[in-house]
């Protein structure tokens, strides 16, 4: 609690020239030293560096500082760092306030005088606020070592095996009657022609026989409650029966890996390809099953002379999906190879927009396809091919009309068999999973990572991880890598045994709570439960992200955001608007 004679140390960072170039750091420090309770104010080149942190720690010890203000970058960047400095000196880490004079000041302003004044105002606000800070203690919760994996494809099985091998029990839910997912529908894989069956069989057998894995086929997740370390999942075994008639099994788990995969684009949605109307227009998955049977034929049972492969069906298209499905280009090249080697008299035209050969071995594979005499024809994203039936005089069954970009000609391509490279899209039930596990989806329905670059498998819900093609289209190596990454993240948490929960969260003052439940609906993280007995709402601190929505929404003012109390925020505002104080000082300097 605030004490009248608490000593505050203010540290103004130059951030090299990032701050000092626009903000007069010395003047800010000088001004800060005039503020009440401030016993010292210093500047330093890089406050986040080791000497910078040590300086703060030593000042706390030697001068008996009670609270610290660091005027530097965004707290997103270095709040953790400076909290560490406070802990090092034996001070409660929440006795820190940062004034952002870089992102919100020096980087966005040009006028040195005005920027300096603004920095002073921000520091003044921080000083007022830090006086209201309370010493908070983080808490820790136990971690249940069992894991729930949703989806029995290559990602789900890989993650499950990885975690089960490490000695943890895994519940694996698969909604189909078999494991394997989409890869089970594929013949060979690009670019090395590994048999998809070989990739799967070993994994399926190991998954089914593993003593640490319980596989639930024909099953679905119906409820997930609790928080990281202590989730409770309800699994229903459907097996053809309606959901309401089956009894759910409840399992206790600590973490969840969502590996629900993708579904292919429905080609009949694009009318000018005639899928479903022209018998010899097929999708890539239909060709896969032909290849699995070992014969590529037209519906009439003839060997096609001309095969045309059309890329980006449903992908890279304003009407359907704007994203690239990533795997179709190499799969198309694989088809070209397979068709040509099965029947050298067959000519394959590959009708594409761009050849996305980004992966390992892909560019070489592309070159091999050229060597195999595949005819590559480039079309324009905005100008899609049209398929129609050929006339009686033509030596082919269909003609594909398109504007070819590399020659600049308007052409027609002969074809007896047309293969549509259908893209990937989010499963129709993905929103259900997203809702149950409390993760977000983007505009296309893909699950959103907590950081697209640095946190590719974590979600904004602690303890729920995502991997594979439910996140975005990707190929098998990337899917397996993500599955292993998710498993590694979960294993790291399990091996720690306990999980630290930030002390900053919302709290309900039950004496004031009227039980209106407005906050229950508002919470974007499903972190508020309703206690039916007492008729009061309760925040699950482990799930709370301290966004403050409930605090603002509560009509009774019963919810307090720890570390973001009304008094703290008001004090900060008061400090910032205490103009007279800083304006006078600025003139004097």
């Amino acid at each position: 609690m605030e004490k009248k004679n608490d000593k505050i140390g203010v540290y103004v960072c130059n951030c090299g020239t990032n701050i000092a170039k626009i903000v007069d750091a010395e003047a800010v420090a000088k001004y800060a030293s005039t503020l009440p309770n401030v016993s010292l104010a210093k500047t330093y080149k890089y406050m986040c560096s080791n000497p910078g942190q040590e300086m703060i720690a030593e000042d706390i010890k030697e001068n008996g500082l009670d609270r610290v203000v660091v005027a530097a970058c965004s707290p997103n960047m270095h709040e953790r760092t400076f909290r560490g400095a406070l802990r090092m000196a034996g001070l409660n880490q929440y006795m820190l306030e940062m004034a952002n004079i870089r992102e919100q000041c020096s980087w966005v302003h040009k006028d040195r005088k005005a920027a300096t004044e603004k920095a002073m105002a921000l520091v003044s606000g921080a000083v007022k606020r830090v006086l209201k800070h309370e010493a908070l203690e983080s808490m820790s919760v136990d971690m249940n070592p069992s894991v729930l994996v949703i989806g029995g494809g290559i990602a789900g099985m890989t993650a499950a095996l990885e975690m089960a091998d490490a000695g943890n029990f895994v519940h694996l839910i698969e909604k189909d009657d078999h494991l394997g997912g989409n890869i089970a529908r594929v013949d060979l894989t690009a670019p090395y022609y590994y048999s998809a069956r070989d990739l799967l069989t070993d994994r399926i057998t190991r998954t089914r026989e593993h003593k640490n894995i319980q596989v639930y086929l024909n099953s679905k997740l119906t409820e997930l409650s609790g928080f990281i370390g202590n989730f409770a999942a309800k699994i229903k075994h459907l097996n053809g029966k309606p959901e309401s008639e089956t009894k759910a099994k409840e399992v206790a788990i600590g973490n969840v890996a969502v590996c629900t995969g993708y579904k292919e684009f429905d080609a009949s949605r694009i009318t000018h390809y005639g899928y479903g109307k022209l018998p010899n227009v097929i999708t890539s998955f239909e060709l896969e099953s032909m290849l699995k049977e070992g014969k590529v034929e037209t519906k009439e049972g003839n060997i096609p002379k001309y095969v045309a492969i059309i890329h980006c069906v449903g992908s890279r298209n304003k009407e359907f999906h704007t994203y690239c499905s990533r795997v179709c280009c190499m799969t198309a090249l694989k088809y070209a190879h397979e068709i040509k080697s099965a029947n050298p008299k067959c000519y394959v035209s590959d009708v594409y927009i761009d050849m996305n050969a980004f992966g390992k071995g892909h560019e070489d594979f592309y070159k091999q396809s050229s060597q195999a005499k595949t005819l590559f024809l480039m079309y324009d994203k905005e100008n899609r091919p049209v398929i129609h039936k050929a006339g009686p005089k033509d030596d082919c069954e269909m003609l594909i009309e398109v504007h070819e970009r590399l020659s600049g000609e308007h052409i027609e391509i002969p074809a007896d068999l047309v293969v549509l490279m259908v893209g990937m899209e989010a499963r129709e039930d993905s929103h259900e999973i997203a809702h149950l596990t409390n993760i977000s989806q983007d505009k296309d329905g893909w699950f959103i990572e907590s950081h697209p670059k640095l946190e590719p498998v974590a979600t904004t819900t602690d303890g729920v991880f995502i991997a594979g093609t439910c996140v975005a289209p990707k190929d098998i190596p990337d899917t397996v890598a993500q599955a292993r990454a998710a498993a590694a993240r979960i294993l790291a948490r399990i091996s720690k045994g306990k999980i630290e929960v930030d002390a900053v969260y919302a709290e309900v003052n039950e004496d004031l709570c009227s039980g209106c439940r407005i906050c229950n609906v508002m919470c974007p993280y499903s972190a508020i439960e309703f206690d039916e007995e007492n008729k009061k709402s309760h925040v699950i601190s482990a799930l709370c992200k301290s966004c403050g929505v409930c605090v603002a929404a509560c009509p009774s003012g019963a919810i307090k955001g720890r570390h973001f109390t009304d008094q703290q925020v008001l004090a900060q505002i008061e400090g910032i608007f205490n103009k007279a104080e800083y304006a006078e000082t600025a003139e004097a300097t």
Partner: protein, 386 residues
């Protein structure tokens, strides 16, 4: 109207030597490095594309393949080893087969055996006929004058007939070439006087081979050998044809040497011999220049026939001047056995470029000016060409 793509055409061009064309992914490096490609004649990239897509009519009516002299820079630069230089060469072979109305060229390019059989047959027929003629009216011991085995007046007429047949087919081809490139494939109106204005291009390009000299010098030597050799060979060829068509009688007479005629004969022989040795050496060693890395069967036929002609010609000349008249007559028959198929084969082989290439340069200049005229009429500000 949409143009029909022909994915199977690639297999046809394979036989003409364009084996790697499907490797091309249209980056355009070849056109950038080419000294001759410009805004109007965009090759090799464009030609490669038309070939990949099997756009027969587009290639048939294009002049581009003739504007390439195969310096090989494009093939060296190609990031995908699609060998654009060799593709242009193959297209020239293919165009010759297209200009040829008889279908003989097509047969020769596609089948090595049919060419060997035809050439051998013509050689044997020519040999039998000449032997028959010689023994029926003359004596093997007499080389010239009264009772000669192969009188020079007879050889002259014989040469004229064989040469006439050759030129007939060559000019039919040239006429078809004009129709394809200037009528069928060129829609911009060409005023008649342009044909006269640009006429100088034919003798100029033929005699100087200036464009070949403009090809990028690989920096190997100051005198660009391929140009020099090609020039020597072309001139030797031309001199020799003029000599045997017009001056065969004074050339054959002897034993004294008439320097006014023979000096040209010797010069032409040196040119042909040097060219032959150079080409054989390059083709066997397959060194340095990419243009010799791949050799079509028809290329060998040319070199073999030429070396027989040159060697037998030299031997026969020496035998005649040293008084071995019997041996000289027999060598003469052998010489003629190579000369006849060599001349008759010309309109159906790569060596028809002797006519087609200067014509192509001429047509290209006409087209270039016609395009500029058109642009001036349509939009005077749009002219960006050199």
């Amino acid at each position: 109207m949409a143009i029909r793509v022909n994915p199977s055409y690639i297999d046809v061009l394979d036989k003409f030597g364009a084996e790697d064309v499907q490797l091309c992914y249209q980056c355009g490096d070849c056109s950038t490095v080419c000294s001759h490609a410009d805004d109007i004649f965009k090759f090799p990239r464009k030609s490669m594309r038309q070939l990949q897509m099997g756009l027969e009519e587009k290639i048939e009516t294009s002049l581009e393949p003739w504007l390439c002299y195969y310096c090989g820079q494009c093939s060296e630069q190609c990031p995908r080893e699609a060998d654009p230089g060799e593709t242009m060469m193959s297209l020239r072979r293919w165009l010759i087969s297209r200009y040829d109305i008889t279908g003989i060229a097509d047969k020769f390019f596609k089948s090595k055996t049919s060419e060997i059989i035809t050439v051998s047959l013509i050689a044997v027929l020519a040999g039998v006929y000449l032997m028959f003629y010689g023994f029926s009216g003359g004596s093997l011991q007499v080389y010239d004058g009264e009772g000669a085995f192969l009188p020079s007046s007879f050889i002259h007429s014989f040469d004229l007939i064989v040469g006439g047949i050759m030129f007939l087919f060559l000019w039919i081809g040239a006429l078809r070439m004009w129709y394809f490139t200037m009528v069928k494939g060129f829609s911009i109106p060409v005023p008649w006087w342009l044909y006269f204005k640009k006429l100088y291009e034919i003798p100029f390009q033929f005699l100087t081979q200036k464009r070949y000299a403009e090809c990028e010098n690989n920096g190997e030597s100051k005198l660009y050998m391929p140009w020099l050799i090609h020039f020597g060979l072309a001139m030797g060829y031309t001199f020799m044809i003029v000599l045997i068509m017009v001056f065969v009688e004074p050339l054959q007479a002897g034993p004294e040497i008439r320097w006014s005629v023979h000096i040209f004969g010797y010069l032409a022989t040196i040119g042909l011999l040097a060219g032959c040795i150079y080409f054989i050496r390059q083709r066997i060693l397959k060194t340095k220049h990419v243009q010799y890395k791949k050799t079509h069967s028809t290329d060998w036929m040319f070199v073999i026939l030429l070396i027989i002609i040159v060697v037998s010609g030299i031997v026969q000349h020496i035998l005649h001047r040293t008084g071995f008249l019997e041996a000289a007559n027999i060598t003469y028959v052998i010489h003629m056995m190579a000369v006849v198929p060599w001349l008759l084969r010309m309109p159906f082989s790569k060596w028809a470029h002797l006519i087609y290439r200067p014509l192509a340069m001429y047509y290209a200049e006409i087209q270039r000016e016609a395009v500029v005229r058109q642009q001036k009429l349509v939009d005077p500000l749009s002219i960006t060409m050199k």
